[in-house]
Symmetry: D4
């Protein structure tokens, strides 16, 4: 459409039906979107291979299915986050080829071949067993975005030797996602052991002065390790997403 | 410049040196700013008559003077906010035609004729004597933006009769700016007396649980009067600015 | 009644039954409300055409109906906010001429002819789909108060081109209500595009460090655009109300 | 018991069985409670006429009944606060002479004659209809503690004339309890109108930045009226209790 | 003046120059303040004997002197709070009959005879030596307002026996002002020992998690003693003021 | 296994199959865990006699049983905290020799003989009846860890004489755990009475400005008694645990 | 004195001048302090060997000297905390035998022989160099209270191997004081390595979201190590004090 | 040294002076650091090319010089952050080959050849002129760590077209550092325009409800763009550091 308007305008100039000055005037006068849209969306293709994402919280199964149907038509890979088992069952009846990840509370529907685009391994590390849902959301996200993903769970800082036994794996990872609730100290310790970027995810796991994840968030922001950046509380998806961008080679 | 590029491109199309398809392609390829800039700045003229504003805090007299010189060349009216007397003196030596408002801690330099553009009166009301600097900043701003401005000071809610004696003036105002620290109750009381929009400005006046203005801010956001909207703590300038927009007739 | 007391008193003075001094004394002694009431309510008529508003939260259907019946007798237009579908159904059985707005969670009962009193268009803009209930509450409120209302939804700042495609509409609006959760950045971006007042409404949409809307609230209060004022979290009604006052020409 | 130990000790001294020095030594050695208890509880009788109070929240009907039975034996007046209707019904089946106050969510069981001990009237003022439960808890408490209690409800500060119509009553009260949620401004306005102590009670009524009553609490603590002191959020009982102490003549 | 307008109006009615209906109309039309002022200020005389108060913080000696001169003409007793020694010296040179209280950082100028109007003793109790300035501000205020005042200092709760040695004095007081920083526990302990009202004053004494007095404030609001009400952090003046109102017999 | 690798490596050196330099190189190259594990876990035996602990919150009965079965095989004493009665019943059907402590909401399964290892008495003191669950969790924990435990409940600071009657017991305790909600003052008072370490536990008991236990937490951190250290809100288990370590003689 | 009153009373009973009943009556009637004082201070001797402590902050050199002179007369060991070098110099001129610890900002004056009373070593561990003043305050305090004290500084969690090199020393300590700012993770890591009590001290070291030490405080309260208890921000003295109590054998 | 101990031990095994079992035993018994140190520091070389960093805040020129001298000996590149001009001058007298960056308040001393190791461009974008110091700290850090760095300053969201004119540059960057104070919205808008990782840095620029940078921090954590991760307030160094790690090719 905007393409069409532009064509007509340029044809009119070409045919001398419109002066150059008038052309400039009309180009300015053209609804912004007609040109803007065309120019702005160059980066879409850059995002190719990334799944479309549906935030499942607050949506019922019917709503999720409707959105998925529209996306599936476009042959997009689909990731649904924060969807409880009950709702997921209803969705999977409609999309039997989809898969539910109960620990991550996520549905994935892979239509592409799922080739690996990330250079290194994304390693997801978490402190307590209760942090696993957030860690798994990160892992599923990074996997869907074309990365080799490995996980190390249950390596809280009060038993630092458990963490140290995984030192090789930590040092070989290309990007690390570190998930922790309570005092949120794990990213600092991991950050000190590796020379790669660490994305820290605070979780709302804890009670009392955990304040719904505020405490690990603040601790992570004050990390004495300089290779740590932080995302929102419980935001496993965001951590998986930005880690994927970091892991992806720039030109390739 | 962007004008020039566009002209060349359209001339090339006109002369048949460039196909229409190629024209579309090049328009897309043109650096965004060349077109974007042209299209986006329509609203500048709408702002005509508004002074250019310099936030004086953290700038020394020399820096303020440099910016003012550049602006003065453009024949702009100028408003400098949050500038202490000491610095203001240095500025006024360079711009003797400027005026310092000590209570508002502001400098104004009026180059235009200062015609009144606002329809009604903007009434600035404040609770305590310590709130006056913020109230005056609002008043000076609104005056510089072409409004008739009146003020009622020292009408705190614990002596509600003092406020009520000004009831006629309150009801006749077109827009009201209500400035208060401590418990921040004045906008609610004023809001209940008038049928016009009230812009509430919390101040950092107070001690202990005033928490630097947080308490009046929260109180104003929870006002039981529905005609109250709020700006940042001590933001007299912002209140004067938005009140001026409200007071200005749209077409006229 | 108070009218009557005053009449008696003045008649007594006229007839010489009461000295002027005694009259002054008695006027002072008259219960305050008798005179106060008469003098204070001048501004009611100014509010004519505004609906009576019932805050539905925490009231059951029966209570809402009772209040509506009393209001309907007075031939008032009625707006019920924050009423869930279930309760609304019960209310509509009693008032079949009323209308339920499910997205706004509001009931309207228009008895007046609903003439347009506002000068310009009130434009309601919102960031995410979850912000729509608050945006719709604002839209329904402004409509009921006699304004032409338009809406632009789902134009979050992380896809700023979506917003820019609506630039004409944004610039033509008389007053803008901008609704956003999460980082609450939309009012700043919109505020920078237009030269009219922006009423910003933070929403409790989000999780983790959204802190129930505190984050967008703080962001909006710190807007670098000077034409933004803010109302309470989720307060769509308040935004619609003050926007209507702003949009209404003062005298005529 | 402790009486007995003391007797034995003093008899032994009298009979010369114990030296004075040894007596001093033993008095020191006596378990503290034996003497302490006797000396400390002088002020119990001063509290006579005050009801025994049961905090109903978190107790089931059975627990409340058990405690009431023990108290009733002691012929105490009883006040149960924060007890929902459902539980109250069960209690009243056991104590048919007790009375449930649904708005105050309180049960009273008056065994004494309920003579008035307070000198003046305790006036309970509240801002919105949602504040009434807290206001009523204060009123019921003060009544049970032997005071004449009057109430003025629904006089929010955004309609200050409604409050002013009650000015005589406000000025005649001996102690005032002012209950308000939202911006919590009512105590400041009332405090400015009267020359008696005002006990302010913030309520958790409101939404968004009300933060569960924190906003009115802070506003009340920052009141520009000097005759205002504050109790905990929703603490109607505490306000009624301390107001009763204030109202009670000291010697009489 | 308003007196005069009223007189003219009533004379005109009496002389038949004005109809009763017109009189009613004009009374409504009279600027509100003319009548309002007359009616509202009944309670001034009730405040007689209370000093006029100047908040010294942020005012220089010159400003304090100017205000004092105006007050002194009116033969008012004067209390200046929060004035540092340096400034006080300058003030005392102008008012040699005034007195500076260094610990309370207050100036008093007693012109009346200073008769005792309060019924009982106001007892000011404080926890640590650093709390004394706030305690003394309360004591000086209550003294200036016509009360017998006694003080007990340095009786923190971690040495509860020090407090208990003053038990007789505590129980004999008519009103108690309890000042504490740090954990703010003293009002609870004192409140449990006496049967009279306790006004609690949190102080900003402490460090770290004292948060400028927030901690003792919160502790006092959560007191398990029901006879405790709270004023703002460091608000010794406010505590002395409301304690004086409580202590004053109502009829007088 | 790591033992085995080490053995092989050292045998190879012994047999001259491996040079010393190569041995050093390989020791470095050995996966960290193989050596690290061996060296780090010296302190396990020191913990002998401490129960294994399961945090019951968020686990269903089935999960608890599975973990307990694994632990029971290892002949460990087991403590399950924060497990509701319903779930506990299911667990006890599987482990009839276990015991449920309803007030502490804990299950204990003692396999060892439960000899006393602590030197002194651990005394658990609590303020209100609602604090008892947390106090009991501390008591059960300390008992399971081999201590003599005594308790004093319902000795809030507003009735300080009730506390003082237990003074002997307080002074004889080796370690004290003091549990309090509301204003959290009890640890300060107890701390002042004794010369032993006090572990303070804030509870979430209270309402309004209790802020879920934040208020007693802050109060305890600001205790004017120097022998007080604090654990997380409602963390009865942690208090019991660290108190047991304090009470245990180091070498013995 | 109270001793004297008691003696007189008991002599009178012995001599038959006073009946036993009367004796009981008078004992009750005796001012509480006379007996209370005598009974309450049993625990003073238990504290023997502990220095008297002066909080230097906010006191000038003169005040510190005055207090020290009084203490020195009583032959007490003295510890002055939080005293800057400038003031300390003045103090040391008066007390040449005292010693200033510049890093701890403390003065000690040891009059006793300083025998070791603690059983084990108190080990003070700190994260960053900026935490050293707080760590040193703890170390000096514990030394003055009769303990062998060792320190390990600069072992932050982002270089966990630095900490691990001190593992033997960590495991041999009787009590550990762990001082950390920023993310406050060190106590968790240390707590997991040892089987002894850890007293954690958050410091105000850091910037931005450190919030003056709030972040490490919260992190420490949420430690996943169960053997950690926490004192106020920057409270090195308190940590040294309670660690000394823990380290002291009970009977011995 | 540890090397030596290991050698001796292995030689003893080789010579049969030590059994294999004894060897294992001794290896365990070896102080942890002897082996641990050797094994843990593999990753040091990976960090080669990164400057050594000195945090200048709170250190005087002398201290900075001392540390720099030690580092310079080791032929390290050096970066000193947060050092004011005054102090920097003193440092540069000692190290004339160093360079002071006044806007970044940083000193750099480049000893290596400074080859570019990062793959793409690191683009530093900032909102207001007051954010420039933090942005420059990030830029200087990233430059010192071997990256091509470009900057775009003064592109706040309230003038979104200014940002859009730089769209090409934004899209070509490999990693983006976005610095903003006030409402902190810039990272969201930038994040939506690019497909690369964005490191967001909140600044303490602002007043009132900016709360020292808390507001932009919260806004950034709640960004609706998924490619945003956040570092501490004003932490330009940290942003430059982690961006460098992201930009560095993994193998190369």
């Amino acid at each position: 459409m905007n393409q069409k308007k532009l064509e007509e305008l340029l044809h009119a100039i070409r045919k001398g039906q419109l002066s150059v000055q008038e052309g400039i005037h009309r180009l300015r006068g053209l609804p912004f979107e007609d040109i803007g849209e065309a120019m702005i969306d160059h980066h879409r293709p850059l995002r190719k291979g990334f799944p479309e994402v549906i935030f499942g919280e607050g949506k019922d199964a019917e709503q999720v299915i409707t959105i998925m149907e529209r996306m599936a038509e476009a042959q997009d890979d689909i990731l649904v986050t924060r969807i409880e088992e009950e709702k997921a069952k209803a969705v999977l009846q409609r999309f039997p080829q989809a898969r539910y990840h109960p620990r991550a509370r996520a549905i994935t529907l892979q239509i592409s071949e799922g080739e690996v685009k990330g250079k290194g391994v994304i390693l997801v590390v978490s402190a307590g067993t209760s942090d696993i849902p957030v860690a798994e959301e990160a892992a599923v996200t990074a996997t869907m975005m074309g990365n080799r993903v490995e996980t190390i769970y249950d390596v809280g800082v009060s038993g630092v030797h458990r963490l140290l036994t995984h030192r090789e794996k930590l040092m070989e990872a290309g990007v690390l996602i570190v998930v922790a609730g309570m005092e949120g100290a794990l990213p600092s310790v991991v950050g000190g052991l590796v020379a790669r970027p660490v994305i820290a995810v605070p979780t709302s796991v804890g009670y009392g002065t955990s304040f719904g994840g505020l405490t690990p968030l603040l601790a992570m922001l004050n990390s004495c390790a300089s290779n740590v950046a932080v995302v929102n509380i419980d935001n496993g998806f965001g951590a998986g997403y930005i880690a994927s961008l970091i892991n992806r080679s720039q030109e390739g």
